[in-house]
Symmetry: C2
Subunit: 277 residues, 2 copies
């Protein structure tokens, strides 16, 4: 059985892209506050940007606003990614951005909700409850999880930057401990990290601590992250291993397809430059 990251890497090769298109149907961006609007907003984005997308990342919260109708819309959006995958003969993974995290029996239910009921390929998960809360999300190697490590928001330092006693007796930031836990928990090649692109120095530090892990990096554009700095800090030595997640930078562009194409090309250029180095 293939691992989630081997599936993702195949898609990265198929489309020569590390771009993850965020599907965040924020009510302010919709013509009306309604599940049907969120759905058509996202499906239009999926169709326009699929050629350039290594993955899609729908944000569960912006569907949950509408209750059951929102859940139906989310399912239709994920199905639309499946249709694009089929049309292109290339599976485009869906990362459900839901930031779940609960004790094992409950985590198993979240895995079933995300992977079986919705049909997502991966989910974002909080590390706060520890290893036994993450394990149920990793049981199926074809499905993956991205562990919150250092997030892109201003308050992320409240916990994540706290200095803890490191394994070598030196103090280290909590986010670095999370990175080394993720390495230990990644037995099936299906656990990555979420590291905000808004903190390139931190991204570099985490990449050094976890040279092989996939990193999902949100925060480019609207949240102030800069693409080149993030890629230089976060790419693996094989110029892979980093998903650049962009939401509003694409959805609010006058031509989302053109914006995604441009990002894909820029990413490819930076990867080539890194390979030459």
């Amino acid at each position: 059985m293939e691992s989630f990251f081997s599936l993702l890497e195949r898609r990265v090769d198929d489309c020569s892209s590390l771009l993850c298109v965020g599907l965040d149907p924020h009510p302010d961006d919709l013509k009306a506050r309604a599940a049907a609007e969120a759905q058509s907003f996202c499906i239009a984005l999926v169709r326009a940007t699929a050629p350039y997308a290594a993955a899609f990342k729908p944000n569960a919260a912006f569907f949950e606003i509408y209750g059951a109708e929102g859940w139906v819309a989310l399912k239709h959006v994920i199905d639309a990614v499946g249709e694009e995958s089929q049309r292109r003969g290339s599976h485009i993974p869906v990362i459900l951005d839901a930031k779940r995290g609960d004790i094992a029996s409950t985590a198993q239910a979240y895995a079933s909700a995300a992977f079986d009921s919705l049909g997502a390929d991966a989910i974002t998960v909080s590390p706060y409850l520890g290893g036994d809360s993450v394990e149920p999300l990793l049981r199926n190697p074809e499905k993956g999880a991205f562990l919150l490590c250092k997030t892109s928001n201003p308050g992320s330092g409240d916990l994540q930057d706290l200095r803890i006693q490191g394994e070598d007796g030196q103090s280290q930031a909590l986010y670095l401990r999370v990175a080394s836990l993720a390495r230990a928990w990644n037995a099936h090649q299906n656990l990555g990290l979420v590291v905000g692109a808004t903190f390139p120095d931190t991204l570099r530090e985490i990449r050094a601590a976890a040279p092989g892990l996939w990193i999902l990096a949100p925060g480019i554009g609207a949240q102030g992250g800069e693409l080149e700095a993030a890629m230089q800090a976060g790419l693996r030595t094989d110029a892979m291993g980093l998903l650049i997640s962009v939401s509003r930078g694409i959805s609010r562009a006058p031509d989302p397809a053109a914006a995604a194409a441009e990002l894909r090309d820029l990413i490819a250029e930076i990867r080539r430059a890194q390979k030459r180095r």
Copy 2:
């Protein structure tokens, strides 16, 4: 406007109970794996135990398994608590156990999903993303949140027990920093803590660090927590401030109403003993 905890305290007085009835329709406990079964399982529990319940705590994951149908079922369960409240002329708060936690704009959407769309009164939330991720859940003083502090599962120590540099220069456990952050963030009297009843010594330590905060304590019964030890460790000096959350200990009892009544009485007895001391 009343704060969430003033509403909760009124209910505690009305029913002389600190019992929070957990609504965890685990598929293994249902006649069939279906949203309608989860709904009727929970509504039967709500009707049987309402006289003894200071609050109800539905677990979102066990509804999300069923997608949109599960969301409809969850809404009906929450509505059933509303009907019991009306029948009794005493508002029974619903704490949605969803353990959300995301950047501010997304957290606002989760608040809208839990409070406006589903009609819950409070939600459980992860501290990992920091203060700006919790604030949107606290904007309406009548709605509350419980911040994960020390959870009841075996792996909770992976992060929560890590020693960090304390504000006084001494080292302290991460969970104690979370408790002091919660005190700082509790400007509207609507932020409490989640502390597993499985670790009474830790519960005592957290109570000492946060003498006034409400604590939601799961883990009694199925997860091995003992009622009396937990209450002695976690009650405030006014014999309030602690919600004892029980799920399978009630739902799997031959007579759930009798089990809830017994727990309510036992809790009341322990409170009286503490008051006499």
